[in-house]
């Protein structure tokens, strides 16, 4: 035992772990398998036990500098080397570098006669020698249960296995023991009884002829761990487990807006578009332009310099590009610039969990800011509605956690707008756009509603959704006497209004002239009255002056008379 110097902080000792290097597994287990202890990996035939354990060893050798011993009870070393070469593991080279040691144990009951008491010291010596020769830190026993078929005395085997696992612990090697799944038990011979530190169950389930690989940590002593069944993939990169679960609702939110690519729609959404990292559902009946909306959104994303993945479940990439071309959207250019990834697959190619996993894998690989799924309706063909819902919840959670905006399109079979979508995810999404046929006046037009849009002011109006050569746009619909007017009825209404406008302008200008004329008449009248007044004033003034003059003259005269008479006085 190593005693730390006293200056180190009194940290609580936690279980040391050995990283598996398997994508996703180290997250679920919180760092890997228990270091220096045995782990049981069990599952039915073909569920990936050998690949799992081989990946553990090879990653240990390549990434963590921990040499490993692989003791194979079922496959010969040459077979094993060839089998894992498909995953890109060069066991020959690793053996030469003394990082991996393979040992094939051949045990055939018919060749052996048991003549009394024995023990498995041979196995111990062999394993010990292999471990010591390369300084191994990791050991895989695949699958040790072969001992039960090779030897008859079960009591001895059980006692020896118990001793073996203790011995492996003493050796401080991290061990994986694989075991075949038994009836009602984890392993056919009850190995879980001996390996009590960590048990991982692999499963390969086929439902509706579609297979799904699942991984579950049954127990992990001394550590917290995810308890769900996690789907995993085995492909050319080996095993990847993506812990896509409904982890909670604690992700950060962004108040940044991104344009939907349709200016009319943006203005319905408070003029700015969707929130970044939100989920948008576009539902509608067949042929209402859901894919066009999605394509337009993808185009806008790429134009603004962000990346987008478009998962198509109905059309091939070429088809989508061609169809979008007809409305003036060039997706091919974005594909060429590596801004857009168009991925098409039939829903039935995988199980739902696998779809989720491959979507997640693509998203992690491409790091887009927008993901489009078109349409999610088809996923129901590989799972029940509740399964689809559960997958979509986890997908939304995952994407929102990564601040990725997601747009789903969904085909609604009935034309009832108050209905939920078939996948009943409308309660999960942040924004729900409904594209609906409006049949009126012998023609079919598209109406777009914003059913909901969380956290922003949005229009409650129905807009007519117009798809033209130059793209998509929204036009105000007209409320007429007979209800809303769309299409040619709307145009008719527009024309009528235009005419009315012209007439009104004309009428207004005539009235203006009339007023002008009246004003001129009045003004001339005012002028003549003023003249009249002036002359009257003059007249009045004239008498007044005359009177004054007369008075003055008379006064003068009187004075003169007085003077003249003064001589008398």
């Amino acid at each position: 035992m190593i005693i730390e110097p006293s200056e180190s902080k009194p940290l609580l000792p936690s279980l040391p772990k050995a990283c598996t290097g398997i994508k996703g597994l180290d997250e679920i287990t919180g760092g890997g398998l228990p270091q220096g202890r045995p782990t049981l990996v069990c599952g039915s035939a073909g569920c990936g036990k050998t690949v799992f354990s081989m990946e553990f060893l090879v990653h240990g050798a390549l990434m963590y500098n921990e040499p490993g011993v692989f003791m194979a009870f079922e496959e010969k070393t040459e077979e094993l080397t060839i089998n894992v070469a498909s995953l890109g593991f060069d066991l020959e080279k690793l053996q030469q570098e003394r990082m991996i040691r393979l040992d094939h144990v051949h045990l055939e009951r018919s060749e052996i006669e048991e003549t009394g008491e024995y023990d498995l010291d041979g196995l111990f010596i062999r394993l010990g020698h292999a471990i010591d020769s390369i300084g191994a830190k990791r050991v895989v026993l695949d699958t040790i249960e072969s001992l039960f078929s090779g030897l008859t005395n079960q009591a001895i085997i059980r006692a020896e296995l118990r001793r073996l696992f203790e011995w492996l612990k003493d050796k401080k090697v991290t061990t994986i023991i694989t075991g075949e799944k038994g009836e009602g038990t984890l392993t056919r011979h009850g190995l879980e009884e001996y390996v009590s530190d960590c048990v991982i169950l692999l499963d390969h389930r086929v439902e509706n002829k579609i297979s799904t690989r699942l991984l579950r940590i049954v127990k992990y002593r001394g550590s917290v761990h995810g308890t769900n069944e996690y789907p995993f993939l085995i492909d050319e990169d080996g095993i990847s487990v993506v812990p896509v679960t409904s982890l909670g609702l604690s992700h950060d939110v962004s108040s940044e807006r991104i344009s939907s690519g349709v200016s009319g729609l943006d203005s319905m959404l408070g003029g700015k578009g969707f929130f970044r990292g939100s989920s948008v559902l576009v539902s509608g009946t067949a042929g209402t332009g859901k894919t066009s909306l999605a394509g337009s959104f993808a185009n806008q994303t790429c134009v603004s310099g962000e990346r987008c993945i478009y998962f198509a479940f109905e059309e091939s990439p070429k088809q989508i590009i061609r169809n979008m071309h007809s409305i003036g959207i060039d997706l091919q250019a974005h594909v060429d610039n590596h801004m857009l990834r168009l991925l098409a697959s039939r829903p039935t190619i995988n199980g739902l969990e696998m779809h989720l996993l491959s979507i997640t894998k693509q998203v992690l690989d491409f790091d887009p800011s927008v993901v489009i799924l078109d349409p999610i309706t088809n996923l129901v063909s590989v799972g029940s509605v509740s399964e689809v819902k559960s997958v979509l919840i986890r997908l939304i959670d995952f994407l929102q956690g990564a601040d990725i905006t997601v747009m789903f399109t969904a085909l609604s079979l009935n034309d009832n707008i108050s209905e939920q979508t078939d996948e009943s995810i409308s309660s999960l999404v942040d924004a729900w756009l409904l594209v609906r046929d409006i049949e009126f006046n012998g023609e079919r037009n598209r109406g777009l509603y914003v059913m909901k849009s969380r956290g922003m002011k949005h229009s409650n109006q129905v807009r007519e959704f117009v798809i033209s050569d130059s793209g998509l746009d929204l036009v105000d619909v007209y409320m007429g006497r007979d209800g809303i007017l769309t299409g040619s009825a709307r145009e008719e209404q527009q024309l009528a209004e235009k005419t009315e406008n012209v007439i009104r302008t004309h009428a207004v200008s005539r009235k203006d002239k009339e007023i002008e004329r009246k004003r001129t008449v009045l003004e001339s009248k005012i002028a003549s009255l003023r003249e009249e007044f002036d002359s009257m004033q003059d007249e009045l003034n004239k008498t007044y002056v005359e009177e004054e003059l007369t008075r003055k003259v008379m006064e003068q005269n009187r004075q003169e008379i007085l003077q003249k008479r003064g001589g008398i006085q």
Partner: protein
Amino acid sequence: MSKHPELSQDEDYPEDSDFYVLRLYVTGASINSLRAIVNIKEICDKYIPDSYSLEIIDVYQQKSIAEQEQIIALPLLIKRLPLPEKRLIGDMSDTLKVLNGLGIAI
């Protein structure tokens, strides 16, 4: 008891089909090993006296031999000759099974 090959005087094995070439793998001085050595010697001396060679090998001394010889359970007795080769495990206490395994008719 010696840990080294004891009765390996016959280096060139006779072609004689009645001659037994036996090799006993043991682990040090464990009880099973000691018992196996005593038992096999007794059986050989009783049923095939003078027509056998017995080599006793301690696997602890030559650890790599375990992988070469596909050894799992010990003690292990390998009958090289006469053919076919046969493997017997255990402390050789079940005389009938040992004789049966070695192909010796009583």
